[in-house]
Symmetry: C2
Subunit: 404 residues, 2 copies
């Protein structure tokens, strides 16, 4: 009798947690485990705003997958997933195919551009290591070019951030800290630089505690960030953006536009025929896709309803990792022929948004907190994610210890 | 009786040497000395190839002018020179005017593009701090962008260097060392990167000892540089360059084109009515402009004939600094009412071209040398230039000591 084949797609928070837990639970005689990922490294999606601003080197935000998987138990395939053929129990990769008995889809998110014209062509998104370092270099190139031109174009030094949600706010915090450094590096008068955040919703950080939102906005404004709240981006062009508010439109010229206003599930989900809302599949309690007893979907491709408010939980690393733990246990159960699977229930331990290296706002351990205390907590959360996947060794190697 | 006004235009090698020598020779009661420079810093033009490649930070290639001038004796005006009106003994600046009794024109060089179409628009030149760091950032941005694109465009990673003269060869040496670092930083297969040097003359380093030229070309080829010797750039486009050889033309697509094939004197020279060849004035023995007893022209704006071969000396830092010394003595003489001025005679102590951090070729102390020995000598030459302007303190601060 052959071992069941377990295939895990994606080495983000959810996929990697699944693999690292599963490899401890099952023996080589119980299952053949294969992990598929586009790159040979895992990256900390929740740290990419730092790499994008240039305040943390992108190599600090990633580590080799082989450092955390047990290569005696797990095969690693570096490839891109093109399609899942659930009827044939098969995954089509760019350079091959894989059969599975049990599949875990943890392919993460894609940027959601809501059909806004020009965003794909002209705006950057904080999506992965490649895009983060491109943003960093793009901004540096704009600053480097400014002084070489006879006719100075101040809009080169304008950076627009679309979206004042979690990613937008965290990126603004890093950027506001980075700009004075960039001005020194490229001999630029800081007064020439503008950072403008455009948010369509009536508030920054929608859904966050209003007192914390006010603190965050005030702190960022103090560092020079301009907010355009209740203002929608209508179009993105080579020169900047067109915004609209109360039937008025306005052009904001900007050398750099970063789109940080939302994500949707990986496009493979919809292309493979799963029923989805914005690429996210409303999974069963046990994290399996409806109608597919052999397919788990976790992380940003999954949708879980918060029953208290009857709205979906936002996709976060925290939920993805918790799903990974449950998914690993459920896989082990299936491998051992059990029929009863464990239901998933998120346990939201806290939410902290950083505002640069030494400031943050959030709720953790049931308490509202701001400033250095919140910043300390944020770093502990970042370190905890490393610990859960790679143990103390990974925390020592990649952790954040610059507390004060 | 008022003090004579001495105005020195430019704080490059020639201008700064003139000022730092003159301030030691004359008292505040003898002359009013004014130094005009576009920036408040001096930069080492001969190190800019390193800043451009990204192997040396641009801040290492500059120092504040106030660190080397005696501000009790010298007024510093930060401004750009627009025009010299010799008949009115006046200099027109962007933001003002200055009268002079004695003028020193040390305004340096501009790139010479020989009328080649598209060079000004699409090629970078290694001209100053601003352009050097723009080149560095441009190349980094090309590398950063490569992996973000679905359709990979390998020509993004092609760097064309126009000219295999001194600057071209030195830049190639740095670039060949830098590329492996860039490939690691941006996850790029080094095989995808091309460095192509195009030179119209029948040899690299024209005028250099053929044995040394062979060594240099071999070393650079070993590091992956491709040479197209006897090949002229016909046009530069947004996509790269068009080259011609033996009536054949060819397009070389490249994400980066650096033009390093020659300089001419600052355009202010010709605009101010001085008789000049490519912006360089054939000065009298005492370094004054023909017909202008009150105007010295030194450095890259001056032209001195090497009588042994009846051809002009190439413009170098070495000659500019030696001219600065003579110019300072001649100014002091004029200030003190002497009529007899000292003639200038270049004393070429050696010429060494670096091929990256640890390799070089050249002639110094009358000997041909290559490799680490030549590289050591090159760094001593760089340190000597610092010593002559700013003494031991400046050498300690900005000198090159990474010998092996």
């Amino acid at each position: 009798m052959r071992n069941p084949k377990v295939v895990i797609l994606g080495a983000g928070y959810g996929g990697l947690m699944t693999v690292t837990r599963l490899q401890k639970m099952v023996s080589v005689n119980e299952a053949d485990i294969t992990l598929v990922n586009k790159h040979d490294y895992h990256y900390e999606t929740t740290w990419l705003h730092e790499a994008s601003a240039g305040t943390l080197h992108h190599d600090r935000c990633r580590y080799p997958i082989k450092d955390v998987i047990d290569t005696n138990k797990v095969n690693f395939v570096q490839d891109s997933v093109k399609l899942i053929k659930t009827d044939e129990k098969k995954v089509i990769l760019e350079n091959g195919e894989l059969n599975y008995d049990y599949l875990v889809v943890a392919l993460g998110a894609h940027p959601e551009t809501f059909g806004i014209q020009g965003l794909k062509e002209y705006a950057f998104t904080i999506s992965n290591i490649n895009s983060a370092r491109q943003i960093r270099e793009h901004i540096e190139y704009q600053f480097a070019t400014y002084n070489t031109e006879e006719e100075k174009d101040d809009t080169r030094l304008t950076i627009v951030v679309g979206g004042a949600g979690f990613t937008g706010i965290e990126f603004l915090g890093e950027l506001a800290n980075r700009v004075p450094e960039l001005c020194r590096e490229y001999d630029i008068d800081p007064k020439k630089v503008r950072i403008i955040c455009v948010e369509a919703a009536p508030t920054a950080l929608p859904g966050f505690d209003p007192e914390l939102v006010e603190y965050a906005v005030n702190q960022l404004q103090r560092k020079g960030v301009e907010f355009r709240i209740g203002t929608a981006i209508k179009e993105c062009t080579e020169q900047g953006i067109i915004v609209g508010k109360d039937d008025q439109t306005e052009e904001i010229k900007a050398g750099t536009v970063i789109w940080a206003a939302g994500v949707r599930g990986n496009s493979v989900i919809e292309e493979s025929g799963f029923e989805a809302m914005r690429g996210r599949v409303k999974v069963e309690k046990d994290l399996r896709a409806p109608g597919h007893d052999d397919v788990f979907i976790i992380g940003d491709c999954s949708l879980i309803i918060n029953e208290e408010i009857n709205r979906p939980y936002p996709p976060t690393a925290q939920i993805a990792m918790q799903q990974g733990e449950v998914c690993a246990r459920n896989l082990a159960a299936l491998i051992r022929g059990k029929k009863e699977l464990e239901p998933f229930k998120p346990d939201i331990k806290g939410t902290v948004a950083s505002l640069g290296e030494d400031d943050a706002v959030g709720i953790a351990l049931g308490k509202k907190m701001v400033g250095t205390k919140a910043s300390f907590m944020k770093k502990m959360i970042d370190n905890r994610a490393l610990y859960m996947v790679g143990g103390a060794g990974l925390v020592l190697k990649k952790g954040k210890f610059k507390f004060f």
